[in-house]
Amino acid sequence: MPPIISVSNLSKTYDGGHEALKDVSLDIERGEILALLGPNGAGKTTLISIICGIVSASGGNVTVDGHDIVSDYRHTRSLIGLVPQEITLEPFETVSNTVNFSRGLFGKPRNPVIVEKVLRALTLWDKKDQKIMALSGGMKRRVLIAKALAHEPRILFLDEPTAGVDVELRKEMWQLVDTLRDDGVTIILTTHYIEEAEAIANRVGVINDGKLLLIEDKDAMMRRMGQKQMQIRLQTATDKIPPQLTPYDLERSEDGLTLTYTYDTMAERTGITKLLTDLNAAGLVLRDVQTSQSSLEQIFVDLVKATP
């Protein structure tokens, strides 16, 4: 199947002359959950805003479901739901009014059943007649999500959906994302919480300074870029690392009972076998060996640091 969103050579220069996007191209597959990571000001919101029609591109083009977002905006926009980064709501409106409004705006007839379903899914049902200004910050964020879902979009953009949200609600949102994915909704989210991307995304894209540094299957990326660490626990403490082991760059723990070896899983040789032999030769007796994989966060930090 062709990608549901196809971005080609997209660039954006804001009026002030700031280049927020530089020749970005990517395809988003139907039904996937794509997490966009990147530091503040990387261009994540700009990318989303262009696809949704809020910002106009300076160059390049985007198709959604095979239709151009400029010439065929009615088709493309009706498929998309957007949860913006900032909480922007009419303070004097009631929850249900504003959700109904969103549904109408996207060209759908009133449907109390669907609106009720959405409100219940976000535990907003008992708040439906309250004015928005009377809601807490987390509740307001739920209202934003309810508005975005009111017209049953096939694509959902979540721009930092869990900023300022407590752990409970964050877990709930992840669950919601799961449910939506099961319904076949394509989800694109931006986040600063790497564990969020790690927990729910299928693919991860990393943006920095307006450039898409990489976009890859999450597991593959962690495998490829991941550095593994091996903790070697010793039977008896060693007060210094034997000289023949210096090439391995081992790290000795305070108590001298653990040595840590860091290696690249993608390297031709991990050097583990040789290390174990050399340890033996140095007269160190192993008690236990443990490996751990570096997190997406580490990968992300390394990647962004490496960009000039």
């Binding site: 809020i54 106009s56 009615r74 926009r77 998309i80 900032e86 303070p91 705006l105 060209g107």
Partner: protein, 253 residues
């Protein structure tokens, strides 16, 4: 045509009106009554009739126009300014709607409210002075056309304004003087010739004149010209709005 969207915007805006019904309706009624007391009764009793119409009755069309113009502009400008101010405009921009549909929703609601207020003032006036409406259909057409045209103008102002001062500046500094100087409370034939010529550049003159004609059959300028001027102004506003959405002026970066 995304009819659901037009309906949604229209209903949303009318709900806003309903919430603020007291200040929306009561204040124009009170201020109009005051005008009648001051101009109609106190001053009017010392003025001869103007062009065969008692002064109190003569000023009714002008008074209605004054309220309708201000209401149209403030309603429509606030209607679109507010989403910009609180940020909900993102939803309008990301929705599958054309500029025409956005305008129909917002301007339709603003014009409806202004029309309602115009009719309420007309009814209030009837309490104070004996009214005569020679051409009711024309009267209504002028009223509706004015509501729409000036709601369009208000919409433009709402998009242009980037703070509350600007939002209030235009009605205050431009519209009110134009209405007062546009023959709302007098016939321009009462002015010295030089000022008569100057007044001809005031667009509101054509509105008031045409509107008054539909009441009493007398006009400062011919009805055809009045109609042509309003239509011209309407087309002009539409063109500006079309350009705004095409260029994304003050809406899209």
């Amino acid at each position: 045509m995304n009819l659901h969207a037009i309906k949604a915007i229209y209903k949303f805006e009318m709900a806003r009106t309903r919430r603020t019904i007291l200040q929306s309706v009561v204040s124009p009624v009170i201020s109009t009554s005051l005008y009648f007391v001051v101009f109609g009764a106190a001053i009017g009793s010392r003025i001869e009739s103007v062009e065969g119409v008692a002064y109190g009755a003569f000023i009714v069309p002008g008074l209605i126009m004054l309220s309708v113009l201000t209401q149209s502009i403030t309603n429509a400008s606030f209607g679109i300014y507010f989403p910009k101010f609180v940020g909900t405009v993102y939803e309008l921009l990301s929705a599958p709607i054309s500029f025409l549909e956005i305008v129909l929703g917002y301007v339709g609601a603003a014009a409806t409210k202004a029309l309602m207020i115009g009719l309420i003032i007309l009814a209030t006036a009837a309490v104070f002075v004996p009214l005569q409406i020679l051409h009711p259909v024309w009267m209504l057409s002028f009223l509706v056309l004015t509501c729409i045209t000036f709601s369009l103008l208000g919409f433009i102002i709402g998009i242009w304004a980037d703070n509350f001062e600007k939002l209030q500046l235009v009605p205050l500094l431009v519209v009110t003087p134009l209405v007062f100087l546009g023959g709302s409370f007098y016939s321009i034939s009462m002015l010295p010739p030089v000022w008569q010529t100057v007044t001809l550049f005031n667009p509101v003159l054509y509105l008031v004149s045409g509107f008054r004609w539909s009441f009493y059959g007398t006009a400062d300028v011919s009805v055809g010209i009045s109609l042509a001027m309003i239509t011209l102004f309407l087309v002009l506003c539409l063109a500006v709005i079309w350009w705004i959405f095409k260029s994304g002026y003050r809406l899209k970066s």
